[in-house]
């Protein structure tokens, strides 16, 4: 690797310029991006499952349409991100195969089950809420295609969190059974949502390079704090209680202090021993395998009709 190239590259980043697909970039920058963007894409795609689990049971026509549109957005966001990732010289096939073999990860949060309709509220409110904090920060990321995908995603995501919060507030103000479901969902989803921001910065293998290269713009802990501050107030407003005895307002820092996350659980789920890990991957692999004959047929047809290729 030439030092001049490296200096030019870092110079661009320091000036806040974007790196584009055909620009020179250090291998480690490329690898880091592929890992991060594909993880992000896989999370969107696997994230369709816990919510998709409730589409057929959504309790009103409106709820059904909103949920389908939301899950569809997740598929769309997965595609924007795959598309950004493919500009780094890796194919969709390779990315999917990395997911299936476990080489690529997706967000832990989707390894938890959606048990009641309130879970759909909790996912929209907390999980999408956490994701949005992260994504807004990533709009300023240094890699052009990734940044453009994030800008588009943030625009579209804005309704997702509102949808979840609306479900939660309806249920929190509903029948005693609904209230119970709402609080139970918050109890189960709160801590995994905090884990979505990743380990403490000191323990994160990837943070330092990612900050220098401006792939990440804020640290895990900064973003997590922002999320906690926002969510506590939102929970108060609809009369739900955050399941953390250590939660308290710090007048000096103007932030909420909160309890320690169970990192053992975090690592356990990442390493495959979460509640739904096997099922989520299995569903994805099955759909992909079952679709094989369809993709083959489409390619064969295109070849015969010379419809997908060069001449017309």
């Amino acid at each position: 690797m030439s030092t001049t190239q490296e200096t030019t590259f870092q110079g661009k980043i320091d000036k806040g310029l974007k790196i584009e697909p055909r620009d020179w970039m250090p291998d480690k920058y490329r690898t880091h991006l592929i890992r991060q963007i594909s993880q992000h894409a896989h999370s969107e795609v696997i994230g369709m499952q816990p919510e998709g689990n409730w589409i057929t049971r959504a309790p009103s026509l409106r709820a059904k349409m909103v949920l389908i549109a939301k899950v569809q957005d997740e598929a769309g966001h997965g595609l924007y991100l795959y598309s950004a990732c493919e500009t780094l010289g890796i194919t969709r096939d390779e990315l999917i195969s990395q997911l299936h073999t476990g080489k690529a990860k997706y967000s832990n949060i989707f390894n938890y089950p959606t048990l009641t309709w309130a879970d759909i509220g909790a996912i929209g409110w907390l999980v999408d809420g956490a994701a949005i904090v992260n994504q807004q920060s990533l709009r300023g990321t240094s890699y052009g295609p990734y940044s453009r995908a994030m800008i588009r995603i943030c625009k579209e995501e804005s309704f997702h969190q509102r949808q979840g919060y609306e479900i939660m507030s309806k249920m929190a103000n509903g029948t005693p059974e609904q209230q119970e479901m709402a609080q139970d969902a918050l109890d189960r989803w709160w801590w995994p949502s905090l884990m979505m921001f990743g380990p403490h910065d000191l323990d994160s293998a990837h943070t330092s390079n990612a900050m220098n290269w401006k792939i990440k713009r804020e640290t895990n802990d900064e973003l997590r704090q922002l999320f906690v501050d926002r969510s506590v107030k939102q929970a108060d407003l609809i009369g739900l209680k955050i399941p953390d005895p250590d939660l308290k307002w710090n007048q000096e820092t103007r932030h909420y202090e909160f309890g320690e996350i169970d990192w053992d659980e975090f690592w356990k789920v990442i390493n495959g021993d979460g509640f739904c890990n096997k099922e989520r991957l299995n569903n994805h692999t099955t759909a992909h395998t079952k679709g094989q004959w369809v993709r083959e047929a489409a390619l064969a047809y295109a070849e015969k009709r010379n419809n997908g290729v060069n001449h017309e």
């Binding site: 589409i55 049971r57 959504a58 309790p59 709820a63 569809q72 029948t175 047809y301």
Partner: protein, 251 residues
């Protein structure tokens, strides 16, 4: 008070859309590739939207406190009057596309007529649905052609789907009392009259797809009278679970 004929008519159209939409929604995260997942849920969304319009209108005709949700979530199997083909399980990707092709082709012709309905509200719903449907037809017909003229395997799968679903196509053109009355008042459509054109479009698509039109077989029907295949009960118990389990809750 007995239900009006118009109510029954609108309700049956709403049921067709609702049950089809619910079926297509079951494809979520299971499509052969991600782009197609979005395409199928787009069609499902259009159909839920259409169901909502019909059912809101039906609820208005029914009067009292009836709402579209009430009609969707609080009626049982015998009260649903959708055509049997709508409730047919998704099967594989060929089965779904054949089912869609049969229905989309039918609606292409049906909605063109319903646009001229004397009933302003029905005509307006038809106008909106017509645009959506022409995209749905484009999607299902192009897939049937691809699969038909794709590989040996896909050709055989789509031919099997055609043969299996053919028996449900007769019902599309049946005129029951409600249809006859609505059609004579120029509110509804003469379904029977659509058959030759339907068959000719289907023949064109299948010819391009190198597929065979199935032999005319025994045609099953009953949906409009609430006589359904056993599949509908499961679809409804899934769809209506929350509304039934917590009847006093608002969502």
């Amino acid at each position: 008070m007995a239900d009006s004929t118009l109510y029954k008519y609108v309700l049956s159209l709403g049921d067709d859309a609702l049950v089809s939409a619910q079926r297509l929604a079951q494809w979520t995260y299971k499509a052969p590739f991600l782009e197609e997942d979005i395409a199928l849920s787009n069609i499902s969304l259009d159909l839920f939207g259409r169901a909502n319009l019909y059912l809101e209108y039906a609820a208005e005709l029914k009067g009292g406190n009836t709402t579209a949700d009430h009609l969707a979530f609080k009626r049982n199997e015998r009260q649903f009057t959708n055509l049997l083909i709508c409730e047919h399980p998704n099967g594989n990707f060929a089965d779904t596309n054949v089912r869609n092709l049969f229905l989309d082709t039918f609606h292409k012709l049906f909605l063109e007529k319903l646009v001229e309905s004397k009933d302003k509200q029905l005509a307006a719903i038809a106008e909106k649905a017509r645009k959506e449907n022409s995209y749905h037809f484009r999607h299902s017909s192009s897939w049937v052609i691809r699969l038909g003229d794709g590989t040996k395997e896909s050709n055989s799968k789509v031919q099997t789907a055609l043969n299996n679903l053919w028996m449900f196509t007769g019902e599309l053109f049946e005129m029951n009392k409600v249809d006859l009355e609505m059609s004579s008042q120029k509110i509804g459509v003469d379904r029977e009259a659509l058959k030759p054109q339907w068959k000719s479009i289907i023949t064109d698509v299948l010819t391009e797809a190198t597929l065979n039109i199935p032999e005319d077989v025994f045609m099953t029907s009953g949906g409009r009278d609430g006589i359904h295949t056993e599949h509908l009960g499961h679809l409804l118990s899934d769809m209506q679970y929350l509304q039934r389990a917590y009847p006093n809750a608002a969502w």
